[in-house]
Symmetry: C2
């Protein structure tokens, strides 16, 4: 019989997108849905990026270099210098979104059956890249009571097996918003050095830190060969649709291997590289405005959440996500119910059940992730809905 692959069957569906049909049905009924479920910022993409594409002068939209346009990589060196990361343009491979940078890292560092340790809850698509690469994610639980701080070193040590090849952190974290401190990063450095592991650092939200500075894994001295930065411009410049990321490492052997994956797919998107290159010349204060806005939203969201009886939400230090514990029995059921059976003043709210972000079965059942990508008025209206919804949900 003609059959798809076991890998194709094992590939996880998006835990966020499975509720989409219920949101669409709600909208068809005329209910306004506040989308706190997905990290699509409403911030405008800088005009300078779009204008760069509009003003570009070319006759043939040719393949770029497989590592990305050299002019763009040289500009990226400037950007990284500004954020305290010293690399040269040959240590950067421009990728199709951060997604491809993660895939290249998984493929080039790990073989089927190998293991990568990731603190949970974690970005759900890591599971998809793991299945693609045939590697196993070993989750280490971080806890809402600790604000999702780095789990103790002993938890990592206990999880390390002969098949462990890497530790992966997202900093600041999606989905928890937790901002890892320099001290926590140094602990990870010692761990990867001691056990000869790669340290995969997803720093997609580097620019969005509200309680302290970001400390990049690329700044860990002595771990130059261990650290792989998986980067993206998606959130930095509100340019998710561009699909431009970067795979950055000082490990030459790994760079050479990743380049072969890059060559196989020929080149990253050409038009978007023009936009991305223009972004580097944005004024240095560009991020200040967005950061102020996100911080205001965070404060609004977290304040409102913790004022609801039975709700607990640690204050996230970065990114634009928060995980809240709700007085509910089942987050998946509740999030579907919000869309299917609830509305208040003809409005409802779409949240992401946290279950999809945990690797350990059964965790996150009374937690949801909220992306504060809406203005504070909408966040307040969404919180009004959530407050009413929790009252009603627990009555029925």
């Amino acid at each position: 019989m003609l059959q798809i692959s076991k890998r194709g069957s094992a590939m996880p569906p998006s835990p966020i997108r499975k509720l989409v049909p219920f949101a669409e049905a709600a909208k068809k009924k005329g209910v306004k849905v506040f989308h706190l479920n997905i990290g699509q910022p409403d911030i405008e993409t800088p005009k300078a990026m779009i204008d760069a594409v509009k003003n570009a002068d070319f006759k043939v939209l040719e393949y770029s270099h497989s590592a990305g346009n050299e002019s763009y990589r040289r500009k990226l060196v400037e950007y990284y210098h500004k954020v305290g990361i010293e690399v040269n343009h040959n240590q950067i491979i421009v990728t199709t979104g951060g997604s491809e940078a993660i895939l290249f890292g998984f493929m080039a560092c790990m073989d089927p059956g190998d293991e990568v340790i990731i603190p949970e809850p974690f970005y759900a698509n890591y599971n998809g890249f793991a299945v693609s690469a045939g590697v196993v994610v070993k989750p280490i639980t971080s806890h809402i009571e600790d604000g999702f701080a780095l789990p103790p070193i002993s938890a990592f040590e206990n999880a390390i097996t002969p098949k462990t090849r890497a530790i992966m952190v997202c900093n600041p974290n999606n989905p928890t918003g937790y901002l890892y401190s320099r001290e926590e990063m140094e602990v990870l450095k010692e761990l990867v050095q001691k056990h000869n592991l790669f340290l995969f650092a997803d720093e997609a939200y580097r620019e969005f830190c509200y309680s302290g500075d970001h400390f990049s894994a690329m700044r860990l001295e002595g771990a130059e060969n261990n650290v792989v930065l998986m980067d993206t411009i998606s959130k930095r410049y509100s340019a998710c649709g561009a699909r431009i990321g970067a795979f950055v490492t000082r490990n030459q052997e790994l760079l050479d291997a990743a380049m072969k994956f890059a060559q196989a797919r020929l080149s990253p998107p050409g038009l978007a590289q023009i936009a991305a290159e223009a972004a580097i010349d944005l004024p240095d204060n560009y991020f200040e405005g967005t950061k102020v806005e996100y911080k205001k939203r965070r404060d609004t969201l977290v304040g409102r959440l913790n004022a609801i009886p039975g709700v607990f939400c640690p204050n996230p230090g970065g990114a634009f996500y928060a995980i809240a514990r709700l007085p509910i029995d089942d987050a998946d059921k509740f999030c579907q119910w919000l869309l299917e059976s609830f509305s208040w003043k003809n409005q409802t709210v779409m949240l992401a059940p946290a279950t999809g972000f945990y690797g350990t079965e059964g965790l996150g059942k009374n937690e949801v992730r909220l992306a504060y990508v809406l203005n504070t008025n909408d966040i307040n209206a969404a919180m009004d809905c959530l407050e009413k919804a929790l009252e009603e949900y627990n009555r029925v």
Copy 2:
């Protein structure tokens, strides 16, 4: 010790790009290099595509649907209808180049250790996607004496094992330019039906057929569940840098699996989808001009090649490639020598050694691939160089 993966080591480097440093050195010496080595067309990207991006009105460059913008997929249905392929927009997943369509197909249809049969010589990057997916390419040799026609059915039957999951054809073919006939496609249909295999059809060069019509694998009646079309706009509209392709199948189970891979990487490039959508509205005669031009180039190239003593080049029916047998000992050595040690009137030519397109070690040693992506004046000048080079090479 910190080590990259076996997969990263096994990943093949691009056989075409390995000569690039020698071409760069030649150029530094002031030698003009005619690039017949790579399929980067010199045809201008249609202005309507570029203008569509320049005129697009949006504030936020958002993620698109993981399957690609619905508006673009609906337009693609029109395009496919015009070329005799009847599909609906839910049977199309827009991909990041044809490359990603191939990767999705390999990932969703085959597991590590599974086998795909491909007539050789074949597009070298299939090897890279095979290594990424952990699958094994089983080459079936096609021969220059037959113009690289489909190998006899017995060769396929002999290569089929319990691990065989798919047969892959590129039609018209890169690197041979061979245009498979309807009869040959029907033979493949019977084969995949008999053995419950997928039929992967790479039809990147569909528009470029000079001796007969193209018969798409998607038109094979009764094999709807077997056929997977891996498509791209790169060559069709001379938009290689856009990175827009398509994964097309009527097999619902496979579509569902491929969608999970598409969701993991979020979305295909956004700006380029705008350009691609505009391309569908190009006038119906758009391809006539390019086809006439390519046919003229092919006739020039093949005519000149066969006029050189000891050279044989079958007349390719499509695409913009030809493979020629040269009176040489070692194509890799010769192609490097052309760049390193030869010039005539301060000019030389860059060719792709055919060895990189064969899966069987030792084949193609006296063959090269030529991409006729230059105008006829340049092709003539390049052939002047090649003629002189062969005289000189065989004297030394």
